[in-house]
């Protein structure tokens, strides 16, 4: 037996492999005479000890991350939506067949952020999503005061600032006092304006200060002041999701419950939403319409935001942004010059250091005097003054949606109207009314394509989902009066509040429903009426992003045959996809090219084309021209929707 043979047998024996008796005897004989092989045996055991006694690397707990990925994998959600953050928001410029296009340009306005994949939790161990959404909503109406301190840790703001640490303090006193301070503790390698921010709201007054966005490291400080602010104005909003994520987590159907645990010593439940859904939790990124905000790292719309909520009161205790995966995200990261960001490592974390419901002192909300305040023109009056000033007794119940009447203002614009704010804790409803509405669309920030919703007890209202410009809102056209409600209540709660008003909502009058645009007539009609008016079948897409439904239908008569336009919207919160529009009209071929950047493609076997700058897919099938567009959808999503129409697009 030579050394190598002996070492092989020793190695196997050390590992517990059984040797034949003959091999064992021969090995023992060899070992007696061979110091080198005895050294091998000792060395092998030494290696074993090193391996077994090695200081083990700290093993992370990845169960939550793994199971979140598994759940996503187990139940594919609706369409995945990808749109780069921080890019200019596109306004939808409709382009249908040339004539119809001319008619409809300007009719639609995109307002839009981006949504993403959402699933219900599939685990029985976690709290139900509905329980969380309902709990937050109930807590919002009962919260009087709050103050908290958070730490913010940010990665990869830029190549020379790979990490930043900031502190954020938040104070709130119901219904409309709020303050947010962000202090930047970063030791910058070069002269840089720190991201120190302040936002103070005290009822009708609003103040913000901080560095203005600029292309250099040293940015000018900017202040923004608003007086005579409209109640709960979305032009000068209060970022109350920092206190309770009432907007981010309002819709139980769209949050993923990941599990329960303990955070900061408190029982907590963890939920996940895409970044674009969670934007209200990051108000410091952009204040005063983006004119204040300092520098922050970019976020991808589908980056995952995990939020740990205190189970006892639903306060957010911690939230962290985890990079999304996929080629789209990689391409996006390349554009921003970001380094490789592993999907399991948070790139931005906000952690509560202390949270209290102790009322802040009044001095906290003191606003510096400023000569250059923007006047929003909301004059506060008593309820009894309204009739004298605007000429009518407004609909003014003591409570709306369970919230108490809090403030009455008379906006100064061309329409004599009243605005009554109702509030409780963080929840609010604004009730506007006029008796002289002469507009060509429903009163308030509600468009003619709004969803018609039957109200409990009779009548109809017109509903718009929340956007980054407005909260959820409902317009009611009644005999002799027009009203609207705007609120951060959930859709069902808002509709219930509308139904409880002492008015009967009427369908849109013809003056709004029918309009002449250019040489054509556009008429809003029920789906059934449209089906009986056009000489082709109207088939609805079977695939739409989660939460989307048919909002309205219009007939378009351009004098050469009726076309029809279907509008699909997210029925709860418009988080960036915008309105999905499908226009159909008789045609045998695509109209001539309408953009320099169009590409031909096969759409379910039909000849089609894609226009990226309009996010529009067009094709002709069975003598019907189809045009499908949405500001927030990319080609794969459009193709998926097209494929679900009729026999495959």
């Amino acid at each position: 037996m030579n050394h190598e043979q002996a070492e092989r047998l020793l190695s196997a024996r050390i590992d517990g492999e059984r040797l034949a008796t003959r091999q064992t005897v021969a090995l023992e004989h060899h070992l007696e005479a061979c110091a080198e092989c005895r050294a091998f045996e000792r060395g092998a055991y030494r290696l074993r000890e090193a391996a077994r006694f090695e200081v083990a690397p700290a093993v992370p707990d990845l169960v939550d991350e793994v199971m979140a990925a598994v759940r996503t994998d187990a139940k594919p959600s609706g369409l995945r939506v990808v749109r780069p953050a921080r890019l200019p928001r596109r306004r939808l410029l409709p382009r249908l067949a040339p004539v119809a296009a001319a008619l409809l340009i300007g009719v639609l306005i995109g307002s839009l952020v981006v949504g993403g994949p959402w699933q219900r939790s599939q685990t029985g161990s976690a709290l139900a999503a509905a329980e969380i959404a309902g709990g937050i909503s109930a807590a919002a109406a009962n919260l009087d005061a709050y103050q908290a301190t958070f730490s913010i840790h940010e990665l990869n703001m830029s190549t020379d600032v790979p990490e930043r640490d900031l502190t954020m303090r938040v104070w709130f006193h119901a219904p409309e006092r709020f303050r947010l301070d962000v202090v930047d503790h970063t030791d910058y390698p070069a002269r840089t304006t720190p991201t120190d921010l302040r936002l103070v709201v005290d009822g009708s007054r609003w103040f913000a200060s901080g560095p203005a966005p600029c292309p250099t490291a040293e940015c000018p400080q900017r202040e923004s002041v608003v007086r005579n602010r409209l109640p709960f104005s979305t032009d000068a909003p209060i970022p109350t999701d920092l206190v309770l994520p009432i907007s981010t987590l309002a819709d139980a159907d769209r949050l993923t419950v990941l599990g329960r645990g303990t955070v900061l010593g408190r029982p907590a439940v963890q939920v996940e939403v895409p970044f674009e859904r969670a934007r209200p939790l990051f108000p410091f990124l952009s204040i005063a319409g983006g004119s204040i905000g300092g520098d922050w790292r970019p976020f991808f719309p589908n980056d995952r935001v995990r939020i740990w909520l205190d189970e006892r009161n639903w306060f957010p205790l911690k939230w962290a942004v985890y990079p999304a995966t996929g080629v789209e995200r990689d391409a996006w990261a390349l554009r921003f010059g970001l380094p490789d960001e592993p999907s399991l490592r948070p790139v931005f974390t906000v952690t509560a250091l202390d949270v209290s419901t102790r009322p802040p002192s009044a001095g906290v909300f003191r606003i510096p005097a400023s000569a250059s305040a923007q006047d929003q023109g909301a004059r506060s009056v008593g309820l009894t003054d309204v009739a004298r000033d605007v000429g009518f007794e407004p609909v003014a119940p003591n409570t709306v949606g369970g919230l108490e009447r809090y403030r009455v203002v008379l906006p100064t614009d061309d329409t004599a109207r009243s605005l009554i704010a109702y509030a409780d804790g963080l929840a609010f409803v604004n009730l506007g009314e006029t008796r002289t509405w002469a507009g060509t669309a429903p009163f308030g920030p509600v468009g003619v394509q709004a969803e018609e919703v039957p109200l409990a007890g009779g009548g109809v209202a017109y509903y718009e989902p929340s956007t980054d410009e407005h909260s959820r809102r409902v317009s009611i056209h009644a005999a002799g009066t027009d009203l609207y409600l705007e609120s951060n209540l959930s859709r069902p709660a808002l509709l219930a509040a509308a139904a409880a008003l002492p008015v009967q909502g009427l369908p849109m009058p013809d003056a709004w429903r029918i309009r002449r645009v250019g040489g054509a007539t556009v008429e809003r009609v029920p789906l059934q009426a449209a089906r009986s008016s056009v000489p082709f079948p109207i088939e609805l897409p079977r695939t739409l992003p989660d939460g989307f439904g048919l909002a309205s239908v219009e007939l378009v008569d351009a004098g050469y045959g009726d076309g029809v336009t279907l509008y699909f919207r997210d029925l709860d919160a418009d988080a960036g996809i915008g309105t999905i529009r499908l226009h159909l009209e008789p045609a045998q071929a695509l109209p001539p090219a309408t953009s320099a950047s169009q590409s031909s493609m096969d759409v379910g076997g039909a000849h089609g084309r894609y226009t990226p700058d309009r996010s529009e897919l067009e094709w002709v099938r069975s003598g019907v021209y189809h045009s499908l567009d949405a500001p927030g959808l990319e080609l794969p999503e459009l193709v998926a929707i097209a494929a679900s129409i009729g026999s495959g697009g």
Partner: protein
């Protein structure tokens, strides 16, 4: 929960001389496996909980990169979830899972072009005489094809047959590679001692 992500370093189990079973990775309760195979996410979560440490450690030993080990671990469990129905029990579940983990690690390394870099590093530099953890220095001195069976057998306590299942080679190959791994590592350690 992520608060515990940092984990805690600690001594690995103490093994007596000849006690190869000490580092052994136990297979799961067969009932858990059956439920997980039927799509029970709770049961699969139990599997993740039971094996995440071993999978992560294996991935880490393989990649020598914590972030990469995180990614490999998640991907390995994802693949395991997708293909659990195809697992017929021909081999041990742990062997099957390690095989998936190894494939994931190889994919990540290929995708990030790390393999060439690591091989170059190994070929170009003998064990660092200043290395404080001699095992790591020794492991760096052997090629991946020898390091893998060593880790599976010595660190994770797999038998030669189980290691052969994971690596897709014959038992004889494992036997041979274990011997060569030990010899190469001992030579590296001897060099290290001479350099001190």
């Amino acid at each position: 929960m992520p608060e515990s992500r940092a984990g805690r370093p600690g001594l690995r189990l103490v093994a007596g001389r000849g006690d190869r079973q000490a580092g052994r990775v136990n297979d799961p309760d067969p009932r858990t496996l059956v439920r997980a195979r039927e799509g029970d996410l709770g049961a699969f979560e139990d599997l993740v909980r039971q094996f995440q440490g071993d999978v992560w450690r294996f991935a880490y030993h393989f990649t020598r990169d914590r972030a990469l080990a995180d990614d490999v671990t998640q991907e390995a469990f994802l693949r395991a979830f997708r293909f659990l129905r195809t697992f017929r029990g021909d081999s041990k579940f742990s062997s099957w899972l390690f095989r998936i983990t190894r494939n994931c690690a190889m994919d990540q390394i290929r995708a990030r072009n790390l393999y060439v870099e690591r091989v170059t590093q190994i070929a170009g530099s003998p064990a660092d005489p200043q290395a404080r953890v001699e095992l790591h220095a020794a492991l760096d001195a052997v090629t991946p094809e020898h390091r893998e069976p060593f880790l599976l057998v010595e660190v994770f306590g797999l038998s030669y047959q189980e290691a052969a299942d994971v690596l897709g080679v014959r038992v004889g190959t494992i036997k041979s590679r274990m011997h060569r791994a030990r010899r190469a590592m001992m030579d590296a350690l001897a060099l290290e001692e001479e350099a001190r």
